[in-house]
């Protein structure tokens, strides 16, 4: 039954379950794979979930219900309406609250026996080792590359298992990175993609239900590691394709040349992960460099004064359908083929959702010889926030 060393030793008599807990965990206690001893192991365990978003929500809810004794939650964000489609630990009435507060309350409601440790901060190279050190298992539910590499490296340095999950559109990945027994995230992906190749809003998005599938796989792996039962996802990458409803599994190997867990590691302390991932200090500065901008207020004034301006929307038609300001739509991908429709001598202002795709469009138009092209700073989102709230924000 026990196929491996449990991560958390049985506390035996050092920890007792109350009658309330025994009733609560009945369905665990009647299974020999968990039983009283296993339930005590779960209670003795300390699990850190990095992020209380799409993956962190189902994770934390299930871990709490299953009786993990201590759950740490790290997040610096506040609940936004756009989170509710998938981040099921937060409710409509939580919008505007810090995510860790909302998650804390929900966990306590599900299971008041859980000790919730709140870390209302971003995980950084400065605090990661100190935070992670106290936990037995780290579960990565983040949404960005710098934090993923940070979590990985900190876990390797502290010899902690890192239960990995990642989602995109209809597709998910899960694995357990545990350098002591197998590969780490860097063995799989030594380097992150350059920021320019990170998906734009035209390619982003996630099916709200998808993190439920991946987050519960992460929670399952966490419980198995603690109990020392079954076969963990160490050395295997599980791929989930929700659209075709298919699971596949790839073999992962430990890279002997891995810079952090290999034979001669070169990364022996945490580094600057923003820099490692090529993200300039000022967010999106690299996109905007050299691209002339116009604010939504300036644009409004110019339009009100009746200036001759061609406003161009370079988003996708399905986004236009959600919200538009009644201007001409040429999706960024079609722009190179449709330049002939535009008069280079005229004045152009280009917008997208937040300003990143339109910056590319401005660059493209400039390269094609357009002289007067400006990028709308903050895109239609800024327009909705500052000029016309009747335009929905998505």
């Amino acid at each position: 039954m026990q196929t491996r060393q449990p991560l958390v030793e049985s506390p035996n008599g050092a920890l007792e379950l109350s009658n309330e807990e025994i009733a609560r965990y009945s369905r665990h206690l009647i299974m020999p794979e968990v039983a009283l001893e296993g339930q005590k192991q779960l209670k003795a365990a300390k699990v850190l979930t990095v992020g209380t978003g799409g993956l962190g929500s189902p994770l934390a809810l299930y871990l709490a219900a299953a009786g993990i004794g201590t759950i740490g939650i790290v997040d610096f964000d506040v609940v936004d309406e756009s989170n509710l489609q998938r981040q099921i630990i937060h409710g409509t009435s939580d919008v505007g609250r810090p995510k860790v507060e909302s998650a804390h309350d929900k966990i306590k409601d599900i299971n008041p026996n859980v000790e919730v440790r709140v870390h209302e901060e971003a995980l950084t190279s400065e605090n990661a080792l100190e935070i992670i050190e106290d936990y037995d298992v780290i579960v990565d539910g983040t949404d960005n590359f710098p934090t993923r590499y940070l979590v990985n490296d900190a876990c390797v340095l502290l010899n902690k298992p890192n239960v990995y999950g990642s989602i995109f559109r209809f597709e998910g990945q899960a694995s357990v990175f545990y350098a002591e027994e197998g590969p780490c995230y860097r063995c799989l992906y030594p380097e992150p993609p350059p920021p320019g190749l990170v998906p734009s809003c035209a390619e982003g998005g996630v099916l709200g239900i998808l993190p439920g599938a991946i987050g519960t796989i992460q929670a399952t792996e966490t419980a198995k590691l603690i109990l020392g039962i079954g076969e963990p996802l160490i050395g295997r990458l599980l791929l989930y394709d929700a659209l075709n409803m298919r699971f596949r599994e790839m073999k992962l190997r430990k890279d002997p040349n891995c810079p952090v867990c290999g034979e001669n590691p070169t990364v022996t302390d945490l580094i600057d992960y923003q820099e490692f991932c090529g993200i300039p200090q000022a967010e999106s500065a690299e996109q905007v460099n050299g691209v002339p901008e116009i604010s939504v207020n300036e644009l409004k004034q110019k339009l009100d004064h009746g200036e001759e301006i061609n406003v161009l929307d370079v988003r996708e038609p399905h986004e236009y359908e959600v919200a538009n300001i009644g201007v001409r739509l040429i999706p960024l991908g079609e722009l190179p083929q449709r330049l002939a429709e535009l008069d280079q001598d005229e004045y152009f202002v280009v917008h997208c959702k937040t300003g990143s795709r339109s910056a590319k469009a401005v660059k493209l138009l400039q390269d094609a010889g357009f002289q007067n092209v400006y990028n709308v700073k903050g895109g239609i989102t800024a327009w909705s926030e500052e000029i016309d709230p009747s335009v929905p924000k998505y």
Partner: protein, 93 residues
């Protein structure tokens, strides 16, 4: 002909196809043929000097070609080549 499985982030460059059949006797040839059929894919698979990008992993069936013969890994009819890029989340910018 081997089949190449296209992951979600790259499907926009293959006309939405999830699977593409390409010619080629090795994994490297198959990928090159894929990139020449779908030129927009190229910059996502290869660096400027023609090397496979390090955040793009290529598998023959369930094995990483890095641990087989790399791009020289032989592929035959019915072999499944998968491109597995790193993904971080659905957030966009």
């Amino acid at each position: 002909m081997p089949k190449v499985k296209i992951p979600t982030p790259l499907r926009q460059y293959t006309g939405g196809n999830t699977e593409v059949e390409v010619g080629g006797a090795t994994a490297g040839e198959a990928l090159e043929n894929l990139a020449s059929e779908h030129p927009d894919l190229k910059q996502h698979l290869y660096t400027g000097d023609g090397k496979l990008r390090s955040f793009v992993n290529v598998y023959k069936d369930d094995e990483d070609i890095r641990y087989l013969e790399g791009q020289d890994t032989e592929v035959t009819d019915g072999d499944e080549i998968s491109i597995i890029p790193s993904i971080a989340g659905g957030r966009c910018r």
